[in-house]
Point group: C2
Chain length 398, copies 2
Amino acid sequence: MEVRLESAVVRGFRFAGVAAGLRSESGRKDLGIIVANTPVAAAGVFTTSRVKAAPVLVAQEHLGSGRLQGVAANSGSANCFTGKAGVRLARESCAALASTVGCAMELVAPCSTGVIGHLYDLQKYRAGVADAVAALQADGLTDFASAIMTTDTHAKVASTMVRAGGSQITIAGCAKGAGMIEPRMATMLAFIVTDAAARPPQLRSILKNILPRSFNAITVDGDMSTNDTLLLMASGAAANRPLAGRDLNNFGMAIGNVAGALARELVRDGEGASKLVTVEVRGARSEADANRIARSIANSPLVKTAFFGCDPNFGRIAMAAGKAGVDFDPERLDVSLAGIKIASRGAINVEVLAGAAARMKEREFGLTLDLKMGKASARVTTCDLTYDYVKINAEYTT
Amino acid sequence: MEVRLESAVVRGFRFAGVAAGLRSESGRKDLGIIVANTPVAAAGVFTTSRVKAAPVLVAQEHLGSGRLQGVAANSGSANCFTGKAGVRLARESCAALASTVGCAMELVAPCSTGVIGHLYDLQKYRAGVADAVAALQADGLTDFASAIMTTDTHAKVASTMVRAGGSQITIAGCAKGAGMIEPRMATMLAFIVTDAAARPPQLRSILKNILPRSFNAITVDGDMSTNDTLLLMASGAAANRPLAGRDLNNFGMAIGNVAGALARELVRDGEGASKLVTVEVRGARSEADANRIARSIANSPLVKTAFFGCDPNFGRIAMAAGKAGVDFDPERLDVSLAGIKIASRGAINVEVLAGAAARMKEREFGLTLDLKMGKASARVTTCDLTYDYVKINAEYTT
C-alpha cells in the first residue's frame, strides 16, 4: 500500500480549480470544487476551536445526512468571524454549486481559508462556480489543491490503492497548510476521496481512528485554525462487496496512509520551514503522557530555533519535556537526535554532539526520547522556526 | 508607592557581581552574591517544571528553615540535568560562600542560569566567591544583577519605599530574562530584598499572593525554565513593629509592585523583543478562563508576528482566543488594540484599522478583549516575535 505524492483518478469524482477573483492577487486560483456523479457516502471532522468559521458550521450541518455530492472550497477569505452574514454566504455558496450541478444544496459542503473577518464577493463566487463546473476533470485534483493554497508553496496531493471487498480501490486526497497549524480534530483543509463503497458510519469511524496519527500529530506553530476541516467521500464506483473485518481494516489503513502522507507534506511546507522533524516519545506511562511531552517539544520556540541552527541542544529538549506537566525521572532519560544518542540516562554525550550537529543539516531527521517509565509512545511531526516564518507572518495578513 | 527602575540601598544587605571565568565570554561578570549581616527571614518560589535544576533542589531544601544569610548566583551554566554531580556542585557552591562569610552552608541559596547540561568549574567559582566577598557593597545590587544576565541586554533592577509598622521600609529587587520565559511559579531568576522585619510565613504568603499578577503573568516564548527562582529576603533593619492588617497589606502591595515592575522589564527585554504588549481579557466567567485566553493570545506565534508587523490582525487574535478551550460567544466579543476598538460584537471595524496599525508602531500598547460572559478578568504581558528572536536562538546555545 505505497502512498505516492501525486494525484490519481478516482472513479465517480471530478475536480476543478479556477481563478474567481476572490483573492487580492489577480489571476491566482482561488475556487476549487469536487463533484461526485451522484450523492456519495461522506464524513468529516472539524476544528475544535470555540471560534468556528461559518463554512464549518454549515458543513457540519450538511454532513448530518452522511451524504455529499459536492464540495465548494475557496481561498482568499476564511469566512470566519463574519456572523450571520457569513453563514448566509456559506449557504449561498452551496446553493451556487448545487444549482449548477443539479443537486440539493444540503449535498454540498462549503470550505473556506484565508483572511479571517472578511466576506468574499458572492457574484464573483457564482461566476467562478460556473467556470469551475465547466472545467471539471477526472484528473483535476491538483488543480483543486492549487485553488485552496494560501502561504503554501506547492499543492499537496497523495494517493494509494488497496484491494478490499473483492475490488481494487483507489484513494486520493489533498490538503493545504501552511501556517496556523496545530489541528486538534483535523487540519486546515484536507479532502480524501475514494471509489470504495462504504457506509457513512464506517467513514466516520475511520476518520476518528486515523486522526491521532495523521493530522492531529503535526504542528507548525501551535496555532489551531478556526477553519480546520477534513472531508472523506466514497463514491462506491469500485463496486466492492460490503467492507468488513480485515477488508475494512486494510481500507482504513490505506486512508490513514494517505492522511499521514498529506499531514507530513503540510509540515514540510510549513511557513518558513527548512526542516521536518519527527519527535517521538517512548517509554511513557500512557499515550497521553507521551503525546504531551512530544507536543511540548514540537511547539517550543527554543527547540524549533535550535533545529534551524543545527544545534543538538539537549538542554532545550529537556526544558520542553520538563514543562509538559508529565512526571518522569530526568536521570533515566535517553535522547537520540538525527540517529545519534546525544544523552544517556540524563547525561549528555558530549563527544557525539559535533556529529549530531552535522546530521542536523539534513532536511529531515528524528528526535527520540525514551523516558523508561512505561511502554506507551507517541509521535508529533514539526518543523523548525526560521527567519522566513517571521517574515511571512509579519508581512502577510491571514 | 512609586516603583523606580533603579537600585536602592536596603539596610542589612550588601551585593557584588564579579567575573569568575565561568562563562565562555572572558571578562564578563558571571558570579553574583547577596550577603545579609545576619541570618534573615526568607521565602522562595521555584519552577514547577518536572526537570528542576540542582540549585533549585538545594535552594528549596535550604529555605525549609525560613532563614538565609547569603545567595550565590551564577550565569554561564544552569547546573541543570547534571545529576548527583550537579547537586554536589550546588552544595559546594553554598559552602564556598558560607565559609567565606562565616555562616552555616544551609543559610546560603544557590542559583544558576545559562547552558543546561554542563557543570561549572568549582575552583574558579571559589576564587570568584572570594573576589565577590571582597567587593561587597551596600549599593552593589546592579553589579549583582549584571552578573546573572544571559541574553539580557541590560541589568533589570527596581525599588520602592513604603511606610508600615511605624517605619520607612525599603524594597529593592532584580531579575534576569531573557528567553525561556513563561514562568509557572516564578521567573528565571529574581531577587527581592527589604529591610522590613517580617516573619518567613508572611513572606511566603506575600509571594503566593503577588505571583499571579507579576512573574506568573508574563511570557516571552511560552518556554518555562528549569531554573525559575524568586527569592525574597527581609533583614529587619527597618525595626518596624510586627506587620499586620493594613500595614501587612501595604507591605505586600509594595513587594508586588516591585515584582510587577521587574516582570515587565523581563518582557521588555525579552529575546529580540521590539514591543511590549499587555493582553487583558475582561468579562470572563472566571479568572482561570480569562487567563487561559490571555495566555493563548500572548503565546501565539501568529499574533506575536502580527505585533511585530504592526498588523491589527483581528483574525489571529480571534483564532488564538478560540483555541484556548474556553467557551464564549464570538458574536459578543469586543476587541481594542492600542486603544482603538477594532472589533465590536464580533465584527471588525474596518475603518479604524489603519489608525490602529499606526498606533502599533509604539513600543508599548495594550490589547483588550471583552467577552461579555461574566465579570472576571486577567492580564498577561508579552512581547513580539521578531527576526532577532530567531537569530538569538538559532545562534546562541542556552
